[in-house]
């Protein structure tokens, strides 16, 4: 026990004596959480639109006004020619072109069928899709408005009323902040522990340690504990920022989320230790840790929903610890779920934690 505590003490001394470590541990995550949470926004704003108006009628003017009045669109030009618009698209100055054809108002007023034409720059396909969607909504509204003005009864279709539970204003931050918090905690824990044993290999101190009677488990626990503590502190700081800066609601139980975080950290630290035992240099460890974190992050459901992934990829996400944790943190924070709703996730994380830590201990050889 005294040995373990002394290793813990030694690790803390080493971490805090490293001049770069303090900013890495405490400033970087805060900046990341703040910046990423503001930037990882899926709503598309300021779509640059160009209108090709071949109708040049009061009606087309009204439509143009309605588009430019929208928050989502910035009107950057109106012209009779299509060429002018497409040239701007090529220069990457325009995202969408709305074409109002000749006889638009005549056809509309005489209740004949009429069409509008939308051209979108689909280099960024999701942005293009969202832009078209917004534009269609505006046009639909416009149609209803104009029809009502004329006293024409628009055929009643099915009216859909939506209500967004757990995030009524659809504030993307409520959705993103807990997820980004998970990423930060994961990255810090994985990289710190991944670099650690391999660092002792690299500077040669492992040679001296290996000839001592220290037991494997004492060594690994002594190495895990400091990072577990750092991970929990990191999580707490991030959680406070989420709650008090981003005003993310916290409906669930705080002890529950800490219990889950605790087990989750043991899993991630174990993964780091495992990486550390199979590599020889910090560079190798860094690349491996980076590889895993990128794959886990992109397949976590944070940036793209798991449900929209291909079938095989969806199956792969069952192996992704970040996915389980993001699900849990969202459930507990936003939905106030209790243990029974997260017990599957909890079980998966506990079992993986046991498995990976056993593997790390097995793999850490005191002999060459």
């Amino acid at each position: 026990m005294r040995r373990i505590l002394y290793i813990v003490e030694k690790e803390f001394k080493q971490i805090f004596r490293d001049k770069m470590m303090k900013p890495i541990l405490f400033i970087m995550p805060v900046v990341q959480l703040a910046v990423l949470s503001y930037t990882a926004d899926f709503t598309v704003k300021d779509i640059r639109i160009f209108v090709q108006d071949q109708d040049i009628s009061p009606l087309s003017k009204q439509l143009i006004n309605k588009v430019s009045a929208s928050d989502n669109f910035t009107l950057l030009g109106v012209s009779y020619s299509y060429e002018e618009g497409i040239n701007e698209v090529e220069k990457n100055k325009i995202d969408v072109i709305l074409t109002i054809p000749e006889h638009f108002s005549r056809n509309f007023n005489s209740q004949r069928k009429t069409a509008l034409f939308i051209t979108a720059d689909a280099i960024n396909s999701s942005k293009a899709g969202i832009s078209i969607n917004y534009l269609q909504n505006i046009i639909r509204d416009f149609q209803v408005e104009q029809a009502e003005k004329k006293g024409i009864q628009v055929k009643p279709g099915i009216e859909v009323i939506t209500r967004n539970w757990y995030n009524p204003d659809l504030d993307y931050k409520f959705f993103m902040v807990p997820g980004i918090l998970v990423l930060l905690v994961t990255m810090i824990a994985l990289f710190l522990s991944g670099m650690n044993i391999v660092k002792e290999k690299e500077i040669g101190t492992i040679e001296q340690l290996n000839v001592t009677p220290i037991m494997k488990y004492q060594f690994i626990i002594g190495k895990l504990l400091p990072f577990l503590i750092i991970g929990l502190v990191e999580f707490t700081v991030g959680l406070l920022i989420a709650l008090y800066w981003f005003k993310v609601p916290f409906l669930g139980s705080i002890p529950l989320i800490y219990m889950f975080t605790f087990v989750y950290l043991i899993l991630i630290l174990g993964m780091g230790m495992f990486i550390s035992t199979i590599t020889e240099t910090q560079q190798q460890a860094l690349f491996l840790a980076w590889f895993f974190s990128i794959v886990f992050i992109l397949m976590s459901g944070l940036f793209t929903p798991v449900e929209s992934m291909p079938d095989w990829a969806q199956k792969l996400t069952y192996l992704n610890p970040i996915k389980y944790y993001i699900e849990v943190i969202r459930l507990v924070m936003l939905k106030g779920s209790s243990f029974s709703s997260i017990k599957v996730n909890f079980l998966v994380i506990v079992l993986s934690a046991i498995f990976i830590n056993m593997a790390a201990i097995r793999n850490y050889k005191k002999t060459a």
């Binding site: 002394y6 290793i7 004596r17 490293d18 101190t205 040679e207 000839v211 001592t212 002999t367």
Partner: protein, 298 residues
């Protein structure tokens, strides 16, 4: 105390040790002398149980390095070739750390390291990384001694250390020997060898000779001359054609020339003068271990 029996170690096709045997008696200061790449470090790593031999057997205090590795680690103090303490911990913290890892305290065994540690004391709050080479080495030795080992294994402790610190270091080893400690030390420096009780000369994974330094030096089979001239290179070239020459090596500012017994001083002088070499001094000398080593390697 240390028994090495027919140890071999292969790394793939590379044979690092080709059947090494020797024995170190309790309380001896034993030197393993050999150039870089001769297998010294592999042997040390086998003795410290960090490496498994390909064949053969080694015991320390009757504990087998493979089977009883746990016991070995309690009785061995090891100083690896590379400085391997924590550069970002202070002198004191390093010492405390290794004492704790060995389940002891600095106070308990302070008497063992007192002499060495006194020299380090003024720097005890300095980080190990900021110490000079000689100080680092004293710290490493203190850390290797802090758990009161029965056997001290020092892998090239004097490599990269200035001559004054090297001398000091050997004085420390002599003092430690008086406490009854058994020490095995490897070194590529022949002058270190003369300070050991017994030495084993090792090259290419083979032991060439085992004896006391004095006996080894006395075993030199030829007549040896020290020739001082202005230029060793020209002298060596000229000596190539000397009748009765066995070998000639550059030794600092002089040349050590081995000849058959029949060759008199005058004929060497004459040969050199004939070859336009200006002689500053020529005298017969006693062979050192280095001469023996050069002879064995020839």
């Amino acid at each position: 105390m240390i028994k090495v029996e027919n140890i071999t170690k292969n790394y793939g096709d590379v044979k690092a040790l080709k059947g090494v045997s020797f024995e170190v008696k309790k309380g001896q200061l034993y030197g393993l002398i050999g150039p870089d790449g001769s297998g010294k470090t592999s042997l040390f790593r086998i003795l410290t149980s960090l490496l498994m031999p390909s064949s053969g057997k080694a015991t320390l205090s009757d504990y087998d390095t493979v089977k009883d590795y746990k016991k070995i680690r309690k009785i061995v103090g090891y100083m690896p070739e590379r400085f391997s303490l924590y550069m970002d911990l202070t002198v004191e913290e390093n010492l405390n750390f290794f004492a704790t890892v060995f389940n002891t305290t600095v106070e308990e065994n302070y008497h063992l390291i007192e002499y060495i540690y006194k020299m380090l004391e003024p720097f005890k709050h300095r980080r190990a990384g900021a110490l000079s080479g000689g100080m680092k080495q004293k710290l490493a030795l203190s850390c290797a001694l802090i758990h009161k080992p029965e056997v001290l294994l020092l892998d090239e402790p004097t490599t990269g250390v200035d001559p004054v610190s090297r001398k000091e270091f050997w004085e420390m080893l002599k003092m430690l020997q008086e406490t009854g400690l058994t020490t095995l030390v490897s070194t590529p420096f022949m002058d270190d060898a003369e300070l050991c009780d017994e030495v084993a000369l090792i090259q290419d994974g083979n032991i060439l000779k085992i004896d006391t330094p004095a006996n080894i030096a006395a075993s030199y089979p030829h007549k040896l001359w020290k020739v001082v001239t202005e230029n060793n290179y020209n002298t060596l070239k000229a000596l190539d054609k000397l009748d009765g020459k066995i070998s000639a090596f550059s030794f600092g500012h002089s040349v050590h020339l081995a000849t058959e017994d029949r060759v008199p001083e005058d004929s060497i002088k004459k040969h050199l003068v004939d070859n336009n070499i200006k002689i500053e001094n020529i005298e017969p000398i006693k062979a050192s271990i280095e001469d023996v080593f050069m002879e064995l390697m020839r």
